[in-house]
Amino acid sequence: METNRLIHQLRAWEEDIFKEWLRRMRASGCLNSRITNREDFSRRFAGVIAALDACAREPQSSRSARSAQDCLCLAQPLIEEARFGQERGMDLAFFLGYFKTLISCIEKRMPGAVPDLPRLAEVMAKLRQVADSMELTVVAGWQADRPDRTAKRALHSGTSDKLLGAIFMSVGEGILLVDEDFEIVRANQHACEIYGLQHENIVGADIRSLLEETGASLLVRYFSEIAEGQRRHAEVTCLYVDGKTFPATVTVTRSDLDGRMYWSLIVRDDTNQKAMEKQLRDEKQQIEEMNLTLKTVMKSIEQDRRDFENRVAAKIKTSLLPGLKKIDAASEASVRRSYLAILEEQLVSLTAGFEKELDPNLLKLSRTEIEVCRLIQAGCSGKDVCNAMKLSFDTVQTHRRNIRRKLGLSGEKLNLRVFLMNRIL
């Protein structure tokens, strides 16, 4: 019962003991607001009290053969605290000062807590023993490496780490930190956005699940090949959360921390760059094609020019010269005028681009027949032609027959007007 009262009383005095402890720490110039905070103190105080509780309850075993072992067990929470402190960058001297002061403060209070406590000396001796064994273990273990914690320590964030962390998170390139299990242990905001994954989803994911197979195996090969500090680039295809793929450039660097290997990956989404590259390639190809087309066009223009000249020469020979001869032979002025009109149109058409065909057969037609043709071409019916030329229907029909014969249309199922539409008269 007395021990319970002792423990109870000490717990009730926690605030006082804290103040006393703080005063002594300040006096020894060890005050550091980051490390001597109330919360940590409270936890460590609870640990010491728990150890004290256990000593007080088992007075018999204090001199037993197992006592060293027991002490170690009792000191365990404090040893844990030591490791915690070490991870936060506490140095050994400071840590021991912290606890020695704490234990001394508690000891000082103990006699006053329960005035008539039997075995008080014994309990105090045991507490000392616990403190000593803790000290031994802590000193011995201070430098020892704890592989299961190293990762955590490496990534533990103090103030400057926090600043670094903030920079890391906000960098405009995707950054992933991968451990030996290919697990992503850190990812920044941009990396999350690149893959469309929330931070909670990307951390803990296998890096290979974010890449297409060939890229994944390439990366894994790089992981095994590169030495610390070395850098490699890879162009890979990555997977967005909805299964869409995108091209990316990955820069891999290896950094070793506390005997473990980590790879940092800088990931750049190349979708835009690839798109621009493609656009450039397309444009280049288009220009080349255009160049080719232009060459062809130039050639064909040259060809056309030659053809044109040839055709003009041919036309002159086949159409104009016979016409001139006919004019020469024609005695009547009106007949000559008619032939001259044809020649004139043919000359005009030579320069007008040959939209309509010049038909040498037309020159075979008589003046009246040409007149009839013109009317037909203008869309006149047989009756209209009769009226316009003041000819009988039969005469017009005869003219039509002759025209068809001279134009080589006899027996053809071709409407005379249709034939004439494309021809120059």
């Binding site: 728990a50 999350c192 989803n201 959360v241």
Partner: protein, 469 residues
């Protein structure tokens, strides 16, 4: 006046929003999903991927008798009958068919074992293969891509726009928005020819808003949600005339780890192994204090009372059910000890009472006797006798908002003044209030979101189309 026009406009890209999009797109030609964050999926994708279904294939295989009525009665019991019963019934009734839809239509992969979560009468919880809601969200995102449904990220809902007849006509948004800067982005207006669906989730991360609803939820209480789970869209809906329901009913999760932020990997460890197969003790006394399989509200109330420091302890047998164990150990969220003694020392727990607690708990299980806290003793529950032992330090974190806006069974949002639906306005998912009453049972959120998301999507796309501008 309008910059763009779609048949159906959906706000939010979680379970409810994506389910709505997929159903709507089957019936109309243009659907757009707007998401304010830079990545899709919200809380859904970081959730544990637990899906409760009454009358599933795995239940049939295990000869577990279950029915929508039983699921409904579990929901009402946990919800203290605050539930809007007709909505809760729809979730229970459609849970199994919706589960099948995810398997047969979306191709979601689940583990072959059912889990028994606290507050459920029988094991009825499916686990996604990767122990994450991403196991459902990803196939949905793939489907959206295949169906040509754009998901526009970094797009913030600034205002819901009502037309002259009082119907929902569209939304004012900020494009290229950078969370949480309200001034960022460019204002635009998108018109909905058929309807708008609000599927924006809860407000667990909105410390200011949640403290207004429940002043006990002070700023220092952590939250399992993603950063974007804030209240702006709820406020937009209220401005548009929606009816608020039970906004103060905000659930804390009892299973989250003290040693990591947010939902983390520890929550699933507690849910799948720590609580069903282990014990929950108060570090100060070394004793149990509650039925570990109670619903979340009872657990949290017990854990928060008289400043308890809770840890869950489970042995090698029980830990086999914890699919996130490896990650938990790697991140130091779960610690492993060869003996109960070592565990007690490391956690500064009084050894003798703890040993006594374990012994009496084991006796209860071995004898199949009634547990004094009322923990159900299923056949596969083993005593804690197989070292090593694992423990997780627990802290309650804000997890789910049971409250929200009121909808009818068609998922139409109900106007506060007329008690009639607001035309062309639907809502689904955590933004909706009343389904779960005072406390949501674990693994009931996914069926709720998917069931009502699909209802909202189908009904929204069946609205008569307005003429184009």
């Amino acid at each position: 006046m309008w910059n763009e026009e779609y048949d159906v406009v959906i706000i939010g890209s979680g379970f409810a929003g994506l389910a709505a999009a997929i159903e709507a797109r089957k019936l109309c030609s243009s659907v757009i999903v707007l998401e304010k964050m830079a990545v899709p999926g919200g809380n859904s994708t970081i959730s544990g991927g637990l899906f409760a279904a009454a009358g599933s294939r795995l239940q049939a295989r295990e000869n577990i008798e279950d029915s929508p009525e039983l699921m409904l009665s579990d929901m009402l019991a946990a919800g203290c009958n605050f539930n809007h019963r007709e909505l809760a019934r729809i979730v229970a009734e459609r849970s199994a068919e919706t589960l099948l839809w995810t398997i047969d239509d979306l191709g979601v992969k689940y583990k072959s074992e059912l889990s028994h979560l606290g507050g459920h009468s029988v094991p009825r919880t499916y686990n996604t293969e990767n122990t994450s809601g991403a196991g459902i969200v990803r196939p949905m995102l793939v489907r959206c891509r295949e169906m040509d449904i754009p998901i526009r990220l970094k797009t913030f809902l600034a205002k819901l726009i009502i037309d002259a007849d009082g119907d929902m006509e569209g939304v004012e948004i900020r494009e290229d928005y950078i969370f949480p800067n309200r001034e960022s982005g460019v204002a635009k207006r998108i018109r909905a020819k058929q309807a708008v669906i609000l599927a924006t989730g809860g407000f667990g991360q909105d410390k200011e808003f949640r403290a207004i609803q429940n002043p006990m939820l002070t700023e220092d209480i952590e939250c399992t949600n993603h950063r974007g789970a804030t209240a702006e869209s709820l406020i937009c809906a209220l401005q548009a005339g929606a009816t608020p329901v039970q906004l103060s009913m905000i659930q804390l999760g009892p299973w989250a780890s003290r040693d990591e932020e947010g939902f983390g990997v520890g929550s699933m460890f507690s849910m799948l192994a720590g609580f069903p197969y282990g014990i929950l003790i108060d570090l100060r006394t070394g004793e149990r204090f509650v039925n570990e399989q109670a619903d979340r509200k009872l657990l949290v109330d017990a854990m928060l009372s008289s400043g308890r420091e809770s840890i869950a302890i489970v042995d090698e047998m029980g830990v086999r059910h914890a699919s996130t164990l490896e990650q938990c150990l790697k991140r130091g969220v779960v610690r492993k000890f060869n003996t109960i003694e070592e565990l007690a020392i490391a956690n500064q727990a009084p050894l003798a009472p703890l040993q006594a607690t374990v012994a009496s708990y084991n006796a209860v299980i071995e004898q199949g006797r009634d547990d004094r806290f009322g923990k159900p003793i299923p056949r596969d529950l083993e005593p804690l006798t197989h070292p090593p032992f694992y423990c997780i330090r627990l802290i309650s974190k804000v997890h789910h908002c049971m409250g929200g806006i009121r909808v009818n069974p068609k998922a139409q949002v109900i106007r506060i003044d007329s008690n009639q639906p607001i035309g062309r306005f639907y809502a689904a998912g955590e933004i909706v209030g009343g389904v779960h009453g005072a406390s949501r049972l674990g693994s009931n959120a996914i069926p709720e979101c998917l069931v009502f998301g699909r209802i909202a999507g189908a009904n929204a796309a069946s609205e008569p189309s307005r003429s184009s501008l």
